[in-house]
């Protein structure tokens, strides 16, 4: 049993839900207190709009100059997503909670929905979903490593990683008709356009491996990451936890763990609890995801089960949890009369932000971007209000 985070009114553990003691919207509000320090220190506001950040977020760093005393974070963009009511309409919003993890979000939501309706998706659909999640993982890991290389000013590998990412995107676009899996998934359903050209895909990942190995040869590059953003918290998730040596993975203990077991999934971990360890894990997981994709493709030539959407019509509560590229992602839904009346989300970025804010203390300003990127945080999934 391991702790994951807060899901609505509950603490989510890997095997149970416990009621949370105090009601709170999210942890940000609890931390919005005064962080000002002793004389000589001041609070440096980074963002919400910054060239070094992909998304809008305001990071406040209390510092003596370079040396960071304390850090807090405010998600400045908070979108309102309408989910109550028609499940089909809700799915449109869920996909767009986080575009880069759209498949993960959609799948977790759909699993919750299917559980609430006491059904399961056909095996072919399950395979297709796993395929999507793993493709998404490859793309995201490549992107994270690109961001780190770019921050280090490593122009050639950064360009090459972006090149690889675009290639992955094109594979996704070709197979699913959309580069971000929008409109692909449905209740007990997944649309696929055609099969994956495995040879081409293997070339892409081989290319990635070359770049990744090359990066690890650079002393200066590794120096930027080692000892930066150390996280040894047992309440961590995803690549952060696995880099620190914890065997935490929703592919082992979440939904679809049986599918992953059939595909021959084995957990990878490292004992380097810093940004470097997270980089290593991500690099290695790209190869692992490729292996998973290969066996998924080999398991069944044809994934699509292109049946007409089959609306949820039952009442009930469901919880879906899968391993997104950055860690555990969970949805819980409450269905009433075939309509959604309540929905809670535990996005992986929330625990990761907490870990980032803890690990950034006492490091220097120039270490912050490396540390931030290494967690693979997406602010879009943090700043959502469901109505």
């Amino acid at each position: 049993m391991r702790f994951i985070g807060r899901l609505g009114r509950y603490w989510l553990y890997s095997d149970r839900l416990l009621p949370a003691e105090y009601p709170s919207e999210d942890f940000f509000e609890a931390k919005q207190d005064d962080i000002s320090g002793p004389a000589g220190s001041f609070t440096f506001d980074y963002g919400p709009v910054a060239g070094g950040l992909i998304e809008s977020v305001r990071i406040r760093l209390n510092t003596y100059g370079e040396y960071i005393r304390r850090a807090t974070l405010e998600p400045k963009k908070i979108r309102t997503v309408k989910v109550t009511g028609n499940v089909q309409d809700a799915l449109l919003g869920i996909e767009r909670v986080n575009g880069n993890f759209a498949a993960s979000h959609a799948v977790a939501f759909l699993i919750a929905l299917e559980k609430a309706s006491s059904t399961v998706a056909p095996p072919a659909v399950q395979l297709s979903r796993v395929l999507q999640i793993e493709l998404e993982r490859i793309r995201n890991h490549v992107f994270v490593i690109h961001r780190i290389a770019e921050t280090a000013g490593f122009s050639v590998p950064a360009a090459e990683l972006l090149y690889i990412m675009e290639k992955v995107n094109r594979v996704i676009g070709r197979v699913f008709g959309h580069r971000y899996f929008y409109g692909v998934n449905g209740f007990k359903r997944a649309t696929t356009g055609g099969g994956i050209n495995l040879t081409e895909f293997e070339q892409i990942t081989e290319e990635f491996q070359e770049v990744f190995r090359g990066l690890l040869e650079s002393r200066i590059f590794i120096d930027r990451l080692q000892g930066n953003g150390v996280v040894t918290d047992s309440r961590s998730i995803g690549p952060t936890a696995r880099a620190a040596g914890f065997e935490y993975d929703a592919r082992l203990d979440g939904d679809y763990s049986t599918v992953y077991a059939q595909l021959g999934y084995r957990l990878l971990r490292h004992s380097s609890p810093d940004a470097f360890g997270r980089l290593l894990i991500r690099g290695e997981e790209v190869a692992q995801s490729l292996a998973l994709i290969r066996s998924a493709v080999e398991k069944r030539e044809e994934f699509c089960d292109d049946a007409k959407p089959d609306d949820a019509s039952v009442e009930g509560i469901g919880l879906g949890r899968i391993e997104s590229p950055s860690g555990d992602l969970a949805y819980s839904v409450n269905l009433h009369d075939g309509r959604l009346i309540e929905l809670s989300l535990l996005p992986p970025s929330v625990p990761n932000i907490r870990l980032f804010l803890e690990s950034v203390v006492s490091s220097g300003f120039t270490d912050v971007p490396f540390n931030w990127e290494s967690f693979g945080i997406w602010m879009s999934e943090v700043g959502v209000k469901f109505v």
């Binding site: 003596y64 100059g65 304390r70």
Partner: protein, 575 residues
């Protein structure tokens, strides 16, 4: 003329007792007379530079004081100190010099004691000042045993000059522990006009005494290398501690140590230079360095007076653009940037050291090369330090106009420093070259016949200015619009602090500065001061008892002390 000058300055303290403005006016008048005396005595070589520098510094401080002084007791003390300095500067014998030296010190001590209601800085100042006087006195006694005369005469042995030099170096803050913290502490705890006297003019008097004694003595090469080493060391550490220091006045105090170090390095070159021409170049440059420092430091302390907030807190206010324009030139000069006089002095310092290395061309050249490299680093720090001062005095942090007279005074000092840069070639008479490829007024550094390097300060001022006008004419005036500063999409809540500005170096040079980083503080310690501090625990207990009884911050006691000291000095002179 000397007599008139002394007379005017002599009546200033009593006048100051009556009406403070009257006292300051008399001091200002006397300062002008001092400058005139200096110009009149231009045949005396470097002495002229000291006279003019001192006169200008007093003049500006006096004018500034008229609108600064909040204390009833400050005007007579200020004028008395100036009077003492004038006596020392114009002294033709040891006794007059010593009298002047004491008369300038005591009022300063009183002012420190009265300004802050803590006795520690005043006591520190007094203890080190008296130690300085004692050593100078010992040196004079020694030389008396050589010549049986009180007047300044050429000496056969180097020891008196050596003893005196040690005394003067204490006054400059170089000794006893190279970069001892007593000077910044003391200088930082006086009223601004008094601080400016202590840091600029008093350092000048000490430098003047040192040069005077050394010129009278047979040169000692070993002592020269000692001075060069200690000077370079002080330049580096003075600038470094200034950079990481907590508040403006302490910053300026450390910067004084740095400049004194540069001066000593030049004296070192003077003593060790293998050719006469190089010696002369170094000596003139030493005087020019003092001129540059005296003028700039006066102006900067006056500015620091405008940035003071209440005495208990160390956070400074910022000033408006009028005084800031002056401050920019002053800090450029203290950073050793052409075309200011400080730039010429720094240029000459580095030239002297490396010329010496070239002329020596032996293993001895290690000294000037290492000294030169260390000085170069120190000058780099000096620029960062001065930037810190000026950025947080009004460039990065904005402030308002704090007194028209005071602002104009600071601006005037700035313009003087700029003008001095362009005119300083007059001091380098034997080293002038003219009209080469269209350039006039080149100061050529030489060790023998051929010039080693050269600079035309006037042209370094005019050329960029003319080119800037050309660039402006060519590109045109920008079309402008005002907007808020960009801060990532939010308003700025909290601004960069001067402390944070220098934290990089606290962390980078942690091994030199003994930096301790904690989540609630970043602290640095001055290594030499730490040693002194540990040694002096006993001394501290003693001093506390002493200072409680003898320095209880009551004006009466200081007056008693002053009168007593004056009587003693007068008696000595009479004998």
């Amino acid at each position: 003329m000397v007599a008139i000058t002394l007379f005017i300055l002599g009546v200033a303290p009593p006048l100051g007792l009556l009406r403070k403005k009257l006292g300051y006016s008399a001091s200002a008048l006397g300062s002008v007379a001092m400058i005139y005396t200096g110009i009149e005595l231009h045949t005396l070589g470097v002495v002229t530079i000291f006279y003019i520098a001192a006169g200008l510094a007093w003049l500006f401080s006096s004018i500034y004081s008229m609108s600064y002084d909040h204390y009833t007791w400050l005007a007579p003390l200020f004028s008395l100190s100036v009077f003492g300095m004038a006596i020392a500067l114009t002294a033709s014998n040891f006794l007059a010099f010593l009298t002047g030296y004491e008369v300038m010190t005591i009022p300063a001590y009183v002012a420190v004691g009265l300004h802050r209601k803590t006795d520690y800085p005043a006591f520190l100042f007094m203890a080190f000042s008296e130690l300085s006087t004692l050593l100078v006195f010992a040196g004079f006694l020694y030389s008396y045993t050589l010549t049986w005369s009180f007047s300044f005469q050429p000496l056969a042995a180097a020891w008196p000059a050596l003893l005196c030099s040690l005394g003067f170096m204490i006054k400059m803050g170089i000794l006893p522990f190279m970069v001892a913290e007593w000077l910044p502490i003391a200088h930082g705890n006086a009223p601004a006009n008094m601080s400016s006297l202590m840091s600029a003019s008093m350092t000048l008097i000490a430098a003047y005494g040192l040069v005077k004694m050394i010129l009278l003595s047979p040169g000692s090469t070993a002592f020269g290398y000692f001075l060069m080493g200690i000077g370079a060391f002080s330049v580096f550490f003075g600038a470094l501690y200034a950079y990481v220091s907590g508040h403006n006045k302490a910053l300026l105090g450390f910067s004084t140590i740095e400049n004194s170090g540069a001066f000593l390095t030049l004296v070192g070159v003077f003593l060790t230079a293998p050719t006469h021409l190089l010696s002369m170049f170094a000596l003139i440059s030493a005087a020019v360095y003092i001129l540059a420092h005296t003028l700039s430091k006066t102006g900067l302390f006056l500015l620091a007076g405008m940035t003071e907030s209440d005495p208990s807190s160390h956070s400074e206010k910022a000033v408006g653009s009028l005084s800031l324009s002056g401050a920019i030139v002053l800090t450029a000069s203290m950073s050793g940037l052409l075309p200011t006089v400080g730039g010429v002095a720094t240029w000459a310092l580095l030239q002297s050291l490396f010329m010496e290395a070239y002329v020596l061309h032996s293993s001895l050249a290690v000294f000037p090369i290492v000294a030169g490299s260390v000085v170069a680093m120190g000058e780099g720090f000096a620029m960062s330090t001065m930037l810190k001062f000026v950025l947080f005095s009004g460039v990065f942090r904005k402030g308002g106009l704090r007194g028209v007279t005071r602002s104009v005074t600071v601006l005037a000092v700035g313009l003087t420093v700029l003008a001095a840069g362009s005119l300083i070639y007059l001091a380098y008479a034997p080293f002038l070259v003219s009209n080469t490829l269209g350039v006039y007024g080149i100061i050529a550094s030489k060790f023998a016949g051929e010039p080693f390097g050269g600079v035309s300060p006037l042209y370094t001022l005019l050329l960029p200015l003319i080119l800037a006008v050309l660039v402006f004419a060519f590109t045109g005036k920008p079309k402008t619009r005002r907007s808020e500063v960009w801060n990532g999409g939010t308003a700025i809540d909290d601004r960069y602090t001067p402390f944070a500005y220098s934290t990089n170096v606290r962390l980078m040079l942690g091994k030199v500065l003994f930096t301790r980083v904690r989540n609630d503080a970043v602290e640095v310690s001055n290594a030499s001061w730490l040693i002194l501090y540990r040694l002096s625990t006993l001394f501290a207990i003693l001093s506390k008892t002493l200072s409680r009884t003898y320095m209880n911050s009551r004006l009466g006691w200081y007056v008693v002390y002053m009168v007593a000291a004056l009587i003693v000095v007068t008696l000595v002179v009479m004998i």
